[in-house]
């Protein structure tokens, strides 16, 4: 009896050891590449950094400097503005695309592939092509509208330009996620509704929207996070010598600039920590707010 028990314990231990071994590559990667740098960033945000990885702890000096800099508040406003421009519109358009792709139209598979394509293309390539299209003098967009709009260099327009590219790039991915949510809705609801005489529009608002709301919630959280973290797109579209740069500088762009161009990694790190806190806050508010509109009952 006892022998058997010991054997079972040994076996369980051996299996859990194998379990750990199997997840080790991922966990080690996570620890070395994500967790450790995260705590290192917190440490750096309280330090005065010097070249070649040298630093000395200085308390909240960087945060004081950050909160008293006009540039930082401007970056916050720019980021919020970018979120307002991209998130509602992006999700609305993705939902429309998803609903349309969910109907029985000809060449549905081809359309799905086309909408997903921007996700597959490298963001740098996307930004490059858009930059040419937005060119004031020789771009196709100004040629088509027959009016010289400074898409990339006008401080009042530059964020709209970035938002257009961002929405375009994200629609496909969000639509595919929403589509998977839509396909889980049982057809019987629609049949029952149409028997009761509900129109298509009524069906959309009273069946589709509540039923897809859990997916919509996930998409909303992800889109908002990536909008707060926007960087690569702006970096590619806006050059350093662009007069509109102060109007396009997002929080992450400011981080890049402080850390890698100016070389002040301490200040850069405090911008990152602030952004992490901001994302945490926004996400917490969303989880609290979801009770009001997300429907988990099937």
């Amino acid at each position: 009896m006892t022998g058997n028990k010991v054997y079972a314990g040994k076996r369980a231990r051996s299996e859990s050891m194998w379990g750990y071994l199997m997840i080790a590559p991922t966990i080690i990667g996570l620890l070395v590449l994500n967790i450790y740098p995260f705590f290192d960033t917190i440490k750096l945000s309280f330090s005065k950094t010097r070249p070649f990885g040298l630093y000395e702890l200085r308390g909240i000096e960087n945060y004081v400097k950050m909160f008293s800099s006009a540039e930082f508040w401007r970056a916050n406003l720019n980021t919020i503005y970018f979120c307002i421009l991209t998130v509602p519109l992006g999700i609305f358009l993705s939902l429309i695309v998803a609903v349309m792709l969910n109907t029985k139209i000809k060449g549905r598979v081809v359309f799905r592939a086309i909408f997903f394509l921007p996700m597959v293309v490298a963001p740098a390539a996307v930004a490059m092509v858009w930059k040419w299209m937005f060119n004031t003098e020789y771009g196709i967009i100004n040629t088509l509208i027959g009016h010289k709009v400074n898409w990339i260099t006008d401080p009042n327009i530059v964020m709209v330009t970035c938002a257009i590219v961002a929405v375009w790039s994200a629609i496909g991915y969000d639509a595919v996620l929403l589509l998977s949510g839509l396909q889980n809705i049982s057809k019987s609801y629609y049949e029952a509704a149409s028997l009761d005489g509900a129109t298509k529009v009524q069906q959309f608002f009273h069946i589709t929207l509540p039923m897809v709301s859990p997916t919509l919630f996930v998409v909303l959280i992800m889109r908002l996070m990536s909008s707060i973290k926007v960087y690569d797109l702006i970096y590619m579209l806006i050059e350093e010598a662009n007069p509109a740069i102060t109007s396009a500088q997002s929080l992450m762009y400011l981080f890049y600039r402080e850390s890698f161009i100016t070389g002040d990694r301490g200040l850069g790190s405090s911008v990152v920590i602030w952004t992490v806190a901001l994302i945490g806050l926004v996400t917490a508010v969303q989880f609290w707010g979801q009770k009001k509109w997300v429907n988990y009952e099937v």
């Binding site: 070649f52 990885g53 930059k131 990339i152 010598a241 161009i261 070389g263």
Partner: protein, 430 residues
């Protein structure tokens, strides 16, 4: 489970072995293997030629030339410096040399030629070249590689169309503006394209007018000096002319792109780009040429002539394990022979004095011979590229303020005061 173990354990051991082998790969042939890191792919062949010349004489040394793009170069080099794994030899730029030298990450090479000739550096290299290899302590932290100047590139066809004679050494700022206006009137194309760049723009004008960007102490800015201010105002106001594109235009189209697509008649260009421009725009060959920079007609001081001259150097880590061999290689790189090979490859103008002709002769390969002598002629009155330890901090702020002046968000006076302030603040914050 057993079967899995049998498979997994050898696999794990195997992969560890491969990793370890990858790290320790190398000198099993008894030779000294050196790595040489550069950022310009256009100069790879030239650098390889110098290395080949050295290894031919020293068959027990192997040098591998590695190219990394400019943007990645500095991130990589700093990471390598932190982990003490720097390449054996690498290019160093004046933007960064003070940082690396002051933190002891590059070797002091002042005594490199002492056995041969203690005065070697002073005899064969110009004062500007030697300033470009100095750390804050005035010692030499590299072997000069090349030197450059900025010249005026112009489109001959547009000058012909407007009936204006080509730029020459008698040209002043007034001629530059006058010709631009005539070309604009005759062809509708832009004249001189005054891009808000420092080295390829306003720095040249400031020094021509007798002003300066950094004061004698190398910490305070020169943006309260009347000569600097006059030149800055002149340069910024160029944009108000119809014949000059504004900075919005340059944010999307660089002056070089505009020039070679036939949109503008003149711009300032560094000599290091001219060879590749000849090669990359074959249709434009014969339609453009280069001249010395126009001078200031009524300078506050001096003769109105100046051009910014920069230069790279070869550097090495003070803690490299092949330090003695590397020093021998560097001695060769800085010798007349090493510098001659560099010039003949067309890579850049050798820093070694008296070898300028080797670079000029490279342009004989084209049907239309550019007047590249003008770049060499300008060394006589060239000014060292502006630099101090805090440049990386103040440079982005200066650019930002300048753009605000250009776009009218800041008045000229306030903008200049802000620039002056951020330069000194960069030093004080340290």
């Amino acid at each position: 489970m057993k079967k899995l173990k049998k498979f997994l354990i050898p696999a794990a051991i195997g992969s560890v072995c491969i990793l370890a082998a990858g790290c320790s790969a190398g000198s099993s042939d008894g030779k000294t293997h050196l790595t040489f890191q550069i950022w310009d792919v256009a100069q790879r062949d030239g650098m390889q030629a110098i290395c080949d010349a050295y290894t031919e004489k020293n068959p027990d040394v192997v040098i591998e030339v590695q190219v990394t793009s400019w943007t990645e170069y500095w991130t990589k080099l700093e990471a390598a410096a932190i982990s003490n794994q720097m390449p054996d030899i690498f290019w160093m730029h004046t933007n960064e040399i003070l940082k690396y030298a002051d933190y002891g990450k590059i070797a002091d090479l002042t005594d490199l030629y002492d056995e041969e000739d203690p005065e070697f550096f002073q005899k064969h290299y110009s004062e500007v070249s030697l300033k470009n290899i100095q750390g804050s302590d005035g010692r030499y932290y590299g072997v000069p590689k090349d030197k450059d100047t900025v010249g005026l590139v112009y489109n001959k066809e547009m000058f012909d169309a407007a009936g204006v004679s080509y730029p020459d050494e008698t040209w002043t700022w007034d001629d530059l503006c006058e010709a631009s206006q005539k070309i604009y009137d005759a062809t509708g194309k832009y004249g001189y394209m005054a891009y808000g760049d420092d080295q390829l723009g306003y720095w040249n004008f400031v020094y021509q007018n007798g002003g300066y960007i950094l004061a004698e102490d190398n910490i305070t800015g020169g943006f309260d000096n009347p000569a600097t201010l006059d030149a800055m105002r002149f340069y910024i106001d160029l944009q108000k002319n119809d014949w000059c594109p504004d900075q919005n235009y340059f944010a999307e189209t660089s002056p070089g792109t505009a020039f070679f697509s036939g949109q503008g008649a003149m711009f300032f260009e560094g000599n290091w780009n001219v060879l590749s421009e000849m090669q990359n725009y074959p249709d434009m060959q014969g339609k453009w040429d280069v001249a010395v920079l126009p001078k200031c007609p009524n300078p506050a001081s001096g003769d109105g002539r100046a051009t910014i001259s920069n230069g790279l150097c070869y550097a090495t880590s003070p803690t490299g394990k092949n330090f003695e061999v590397v020093k021998d290689v560097l001695r060769f790189f800085g010798s007349e022979e090493g510098q001659r090979i560099q010039g003949e490859s067309g890579a850049a103008i050798p820093a070694y004095q008296g070898l300028e002709q080797t670079w000029i002769d490279v342009f004989d390969q084209f049907d239309y011979r550019l007047n590249v002598e003008c770049f060499v002629d300008m060394f006589e009155y060239s000014v060292q590229s502006v630099n101090n330890k805090y440049r990386s901090v103040w440079k982005p702020e200066v650019t930002e303020n300048l753009l605000k002046i250009y776009s009218g968000q800041l008045s000229f006076e306030d903008g200049m005061a802000a620039i002056q302030d951020c330069i000194i603040r960069a030093a004080e914050d340290d």
